[in-house]
Amino acid sequence: MSVLIILVIFSLLVAGSFLGAFIWAIRDGQYEDDYSPSVRMLFDSKKTEIKHKSNK
């Protein structure tokens, strides 16, 4: 049964990394504008790359 302990801790780590990714996404500002990126990706990309970073 002690394998359960390892599995539980492992599952927590996996879930935790998803939480980490979510927090990263929020910090990066991905939830601030949910419209422009969806049209931006359809434009022909001749232009210089635009960094999607919130200004601070």
Binding site: L19, R27, E32, D33, S54, N55
Partner: protein, 798 residues
């Protein structure tokens, strides 16, 4: 007639508006004005004409002549630092609010700005907020940048207000909380699974202990961080000796947490950590749903958003830009063409031709001579004038309406209904909890505390914390799609309960589009033809109205013509001089005081003979007759108009005579609402700056606007003018939504009653709590969202 019809089909290649003539063109592309043509030229020379093919509707914005010096103040160093986001060496960053961003083409063009000017490094559009973030270097100044945007039809609106409100951090904190609460909730549920399935006894003590320890560990961030808002809010309520709806929530969370710690410590079981974190998760989601706002619209604008950031002050003979807060009474300021007068004052030099449409919603121009008083909010429409200010900006006639304490219900952000019922609810919970403690303490002291705490845990006010955010949040989205934008979800309730509706007249029940034209005097057909041929050459809105009004054939063309901006147009037909324009240019003596009242006039002079004048009246919105009929049955209708009473008899068809009030000043409008508000709930519908005080004073202030990107005064809701006809439907819908929230109250209470049955007996098992609480939350949420959707369908809302 044929030729006229054809001409109307010609649409501007850039902005899609009708062209009066096909004179302005480049390679078979026709433009309505030189502004649109020059935008096309800029785009064409930079190979950016993809702009016109990205979005099938017309992407271009009509170019408005803003006057050359509109952004001149951006050269001033002190103002520069206020507007810029950052400055690192030669790189500058700035964020502009651009109301005219409206489609994907806009994003594309604005993000390709670096192709137009080498000084621009990158630009990034935030579509929802209608903001553009630009990084640039010293090759372009901030002023040139603003002027470039403006010349492309994306005039930035600059004020300091946007910087003061920082919504970003607030929203982010809530998202973090939801993420963490969801993570902890899910994992605690998983760890509690053996408990739910009653198989935990088969596990060894070590594993059981680890599961419980991990659950406790995971619940800590939920309790300390995610639920912190509820503790803070209820603590604030206790400090002011009031009861708010967060109080029973906070009590329940604390009770559940301490009971769990106690049970874990004494080895009784795993406690209520799963239901606790689940509850917090649901509550936070409700909060997030409720927080959805129309970021691009501002409901909290005060006078500062209407006025420029800075004005030209004349000091010791030299001109200097100063910010408005530095302007004192007695300063001499220079107001150029198209600039707004920021403070009350007197004209020192020059002739003021002042457009108060910002203030009154009327498009009439008032002429003021040297020494006459001018009010803040007017826009000069002519050559520059010097003005001596008589008051500081914040004490001017209009602005002082804001500085008065009109905030009747703004202090407490909670819905009235929640407050009313919530108080009883909280008191009842505390009472039952205490009662069960007192009941048990004599019989079985061991159960007494458990029973009291169980009551607090189970009796969580889901109805208030979930039904309102989800039910009203959905309704708010639906209304927004249909053209009524609400400040927050609480506005739904304000919409639903009103006894009277007060309308403003100009701009609210009348529209500035398609004014009614009539001619006072007599014209022959030839004369009409000449006038029509003449005004065809002018893009002024009044000229266009005259052109549409005159139903004659225009085969003739003027031999020569000259347009005098904001004065009129003069042309020659076979040595016959035709002038159409203001009284001044035609040479008619008019009494300036009475001239203003009856609408705009355009005088006509042919061969040195004044033939008469055109009068323009704002026409009533077509749907007003219909909706006033519907609204009259349920509400008392009132009308407050700043105009004279010339239309009293017409309006008495819709309003009872005692409720018709003319010649109202902004202050008397406010007072009227205040007086009415003493006995009943009043909804005010207005548009201009002159209604702003009344809108704030009313229970529910709706500001009506032709263009949602435009400024509208501080209010509870913004109504798109095109949706005006559906106002009665919106009100009915709001009422229905309030009803469905009442319905969910019944559902929620029945769950609470079941839980209470167990709780008062001290029989509340963690499993029961863990089942009952999510089921009740989810069913309440489902009920209200489905009901809001169903009502919308019934009333034909999208």
């Amino acid at each position: 007639m044929e030729s006229i019809v054809e001409q109307h089909e010609v649409k501007c290649y850039h902005c899609g508006n009708e062209c009066e003539s096909s004179n302005i063109k480049i390679d078979s592309k026709i433009f309505c004005c030189n502004g649109c043509k020059s935008v096309y030229e800029i785009l064409d020379s930079n190979l950016l004409c993809d702009y016109y093919f990205l979005d099938t509707s017309n992407p271009g914005n009509k170019i408005e002549d803003a006057g050359k010096s509109k952004y001149a103040f951006l050269d001033e160093e002190t103002i520069l630092t206020k507007v810029l986001d950052f400055q690192e060496g030669n790189t500058f960053g700035v964020t502009f609010y651009v109301p005219s961003i409206h489609c994907s083409s806009c994003i594309w063009l604005l993000e390709n700005m670096q192709k137009i000017h080498p000084g621009i490094i990158t630009s990034n559009v935030h579509f929802r907020k209608k903001e553009i973030n630009i990084q640039f270097n010293k090759k372009i100044t901030l002023r040139q940048l603003a002027e470039l945007l403006s010349s492309l039809g994306y005039a930035p609106v600059i004020n300091f207000n946007g910087k003061e409100i920082n919504r970003k951090t607030v929203d982010k904190a809530l998202l973090y909380k939801i993420g963490i609460a969801g993570f902890c909730f899910g994992n605690i549920m998983m760890l509690s699974l053996p408990e739910y399935l009653s198989v935990s006894d088969k596990f060894s003590g070590d594993i059981k202990g680890l599961f419980i320890f991990l659950s406790l560990f995971l619940s800590l961030p939920v309790f300390i961080y995610c639920a912190s808002d509820y503790f803070v809010s209820s603590w604030n309520a206790i400090k002011t000796r009031t009861v708010n709806i967060d109080l029973p929530i906070a009590l329940g969370i604390i009770a559940a947490f301490s009971q769990s710690i106690y049970e874990i410590y004494t080895g009784k079981g795993p406690g209520y950590l799963d239901s606790l974190s689940g509850l917090v998760f649901f509550l936070l989601i409700g909060k997030w749903y409720q927080k959805k706002t129309y970021e691009a619209l501002s409901f909290e604008r005060d006078y500062k958003s209407y006025f420029p950031l800075a004005v030209t002050k004349i000091e010791n003979g030299s001109e200097r830009y100063v910010t408005l807060d530095k302007l004192k009474a007695g300063d001499t300021i220079l107001i150029r063409n198209k600039e707004i007068i920021p403070a009350d004052g007197y004209i020192l030099e020059g002739t003021g031709v002042i457009d108060y449409s910002f203030v009154t919603g009327e498009s009439n121009l008032t002429t003021k001579e040297t020494g006459q008083k001018v009010f803040a909010g007017g826009r000069q429409d002519g050559p520059a004038v010097k003005i001596i200010t008589s008051k500081v900006v914040s004490e001017s006639y209009l602005t002082q309406l804001w500085n008065k304490d009109n905030a009747t219900d703004k202090l407490n952000g909670l819905v009235e209904f929640t407050n009313r019922i919530g108080k009883y609810f909280t008191v009842a919970v505390l009472f039952i909890s205490l009662g069960s403690y007192v009941y048990w303490v004599g019989k079985d002291p061991g159960i007494a505390l458990h029973a009291a705490v169980s009551v607090l845990i189970i009796f969580c006010p889901c109805i208030f914390a979930l039904a309102i955010p989800f039910g009203f949040g959905k309704a708010m989205n639906i209304l927004g799609r249909n053209g009524l934008f609400l400040k927050n979800t609480e506005t739904i309730e304000k919409l639903a309960h009103n006894d009277s509706i007060v309308f403003d007249k100009t701009g609210t029940i009348t529209t500035t589009e398609n004014p009614e034209v009539s001619f006072a005097g007599a014209l022959t057909n030839t004369e009409s033809g000449m006038i029509k041929a003449l005004v065809k050459n002018s893009t002024h809105p009044l000229s266009r109205s005259i052109y549409n009004y005159l139903k004659v054939d225009t085969s003739i063309k003027p031999d020569s013509f000259v347009e005098i901006p904001s004065q009129g147009i003069r042309g020659m037909f076979n040595n016959i001089e035709v002038i159409a324009g203001t009284a001044d240019i035609v040479g008619v003596q008019v009494n300036k005081d009475t001239e203003m009242v009856s609408g705009s006039k355009v005088y006509v002079k042919i061969n040195n003979q004044v033939k008469g004048y055109f009068v323009f009246r704002n026409s009533y919105r077509k749907s007003f007759e219909q909706i006033s009929g519907i609204l009259k049955k349920k509400y008392t209708l009132h009308l407050l108009s700043g105009d004279n009473d010339s239309e009293r008899s017409y309006l008495s068809n819709y309003f009872s005579l005692s409720n018709l009030h003319f010649n109202q000043t902004p202050q008397s409008k406010l007072d009227y609402i205040k007086k009415l508000g003493k006995n009943e709930k009043v909804m005010m519908i207005g548009d201009g700056l002159n209604d702003a005080g009344a809108l704030q004073q009313s229970n529910c202030g709706i500001s009506i606007t032709e263009n949602c990107g435009n400024f509208s005064p501080a209010c509870d809701a913004i109504l798109d003018a095109s949706a005006f006809s559906r106002l009665p439907v919106f009100l009915k819908y709001a009422k229905a939504c309030v009803k469905s929230v009442y319905g969910s109250l019944a559902i929620s209470l029945s769950y609470n009653a079941i839980g209470l049955y167990f709780a008062v007996q001290g029989l509340l098992k963690p499993l029961v709590a863990a089942l009952l609480m999510p089921i009740s939350s989810v069913s309440v949420v489902l009920f209200v969202t489905i009901m809001s959707g169903l009502w919308a369908k019934k009333y034909g809302l999208r």
